[in-house]
Amino acid sequence: MPAAASPSRLSRGLWLLPVVALLVHLGLGLARVPGVVFGRRWSDIDDYRARGAAGYFLGGPALRGAEVVQWILANVPADAAVLFRGETNGALEFVPGLIAPRLLVREQAVAADAREHRGRPLARRTEADGQQRPVVVVGLVDDLRLEVR
């Protein structure tokens, strides 16, 4: 009949438990290196480059509004201020970074007939009647809309 393990042998054996935990942890990390650390990172980078920053963040099913950002980038000078209103959580959060160095300025802080904000011209759009009017980006949580003031 085998002898029962002595307490000292038991205590010697117990330090192997954290060794096993450490090795399993390391193994889990190593296993993810090819597929996730490299694979998924490379795939994210390719996706970002293919869709551009606006499309990457605001061109999916969860958040929309990439076309609003692209319109601003194409039509608004870099030193301009762009008005905004609506929900600041969600899609609108991405706009300041995507349109920088243009500034996103709260509509209520700018007088109704103003053409500039602290020396920066307001972003404007020419309407069907030939008039140029300031544009306002409206935050809708999961989308953006471009309106005229």
Binding site: W15, L17, L22, L28, G29, V36, R41
Partner: protein
Amino acid sequence: MSSLSWAERLLLGSLAGIALFAVAAHALLALSLAVPAHLLTGSLLLGLLVPWRIPAMPAAAPAPRWLASALGLVLVAALVAIAHGALATPSRHWDGAVAWDTTARFLVAAPTLEQPYFRDAAVFAHSRDYPLLQPLLVATLERLCGGAGRLLFPGLFALLALLVGTTLRRATANASLAWLGTAATMLTPMLVNPTSGGIDSGYGEGFLLLCTTAIAAGFVQKDARLLLLGTLLAVLVKPEGIVYAGAATAVAFCTAERRLLCGAAAGWLLGAVAWLPLQRGLLQPEAGTSCGWFVVAAGGIGALLACADALARRAALGPRGRLAAAAVLLPVLLLALPLVASGVGASGGAMQSYLAEPGRLLQRSARLPAIVVGVLHYALFRGGFGLAYWLPLVALFGAWSRRASFAALGLFVLAGLGIVVMPFLMGQETDLQHQLRSSMPRLLLHWLGPTMLLGVTMLGQCRERSSTEAQPHRGASPEAQR
């Protein structure tokens, strides 16, 4: 890892250089001046040229060559992936893109706060009150390295690896264990995966992890310099940092070692005096950036700590007495500075929003079991942290001899996990499950380094004890063995 003094010098020099840059840059910003790019070059050079005193490394058999080579190669591969992830595009994750990158972008164009993005309350600036050190470093590197500002992130990864590796080598006196522990820490999925909060995601979590790990390494190595640098940088990296640094100071008080207490408190209070006036100026430009109230508050807290330490010495308080005294001091240490910041006009910030309605703490106490289950779920059962949080728990089975070297670190980790619960009790968010999902993995990432250091240090001590117990058997006479 046979001769690591160069690595420890590089580590201390880099951290000190970053800290020097941080303090000088914050002073310039408070004076409404621009931060010159070569301030970083000069600070790093100065930090690296200081002849740091490095204690002799405990003797240990070298790790097998194959082990060191294989794990070193994997770490270099991970570093390459992170460097590519950081440099190939701007941030590809939410907070990185909306807050951190945007702040850095405006600082690249003009490295000063005297511009509408920071000073005009009508301008939409996400997380306006967030600490500026990381965007400042990215912007400065961007100007120095021709657009490669996000080199910061692989740099932080490399510093973290050096910190974990050298600390484990010292704490365990076992080169193989140091290599295994370092690789295991650095390959933890939540840190290296391309995910929100990951090291190259652009978030501040990786930098804050470096700070908490430096604090933990300071406790393990009883090195006041690491404690000072860790607490100072933590305050300047993320809003949570000021609370973590306060907790580190409380733990340093428990160690009864005056130099550790001085190191932790000095870094924490200096960081607060450098950052809080700027934060107030960002939230309320009309309030200005005068630091008078913050100097008074920091001086008061410093005096309180000095008195408490002197009284504890006079009463010859043991570890339990100090722990009880620290428990009394803890609310003051954690909340005093954010409360002063709110009191002098910096309301509306992320940290202050938690303090806006103290009654929430009682109203939401019924949530506590669900929050604790959430912490355990994300720490132990989700893949993001592998077995990192299991390791100290499992090591406890084998660690009969409680050594002071990990008592302080264990206390720091426990304090950290306690703090992790607080945002869920005090925050404005009402949907607990959503808050757990979006915040818990990132909050737990802050404590990955201290937890891994704790787990592997305990493991090393279990092994040491096991070897000691085995000695009489090996050394016994042949007669006795028969």
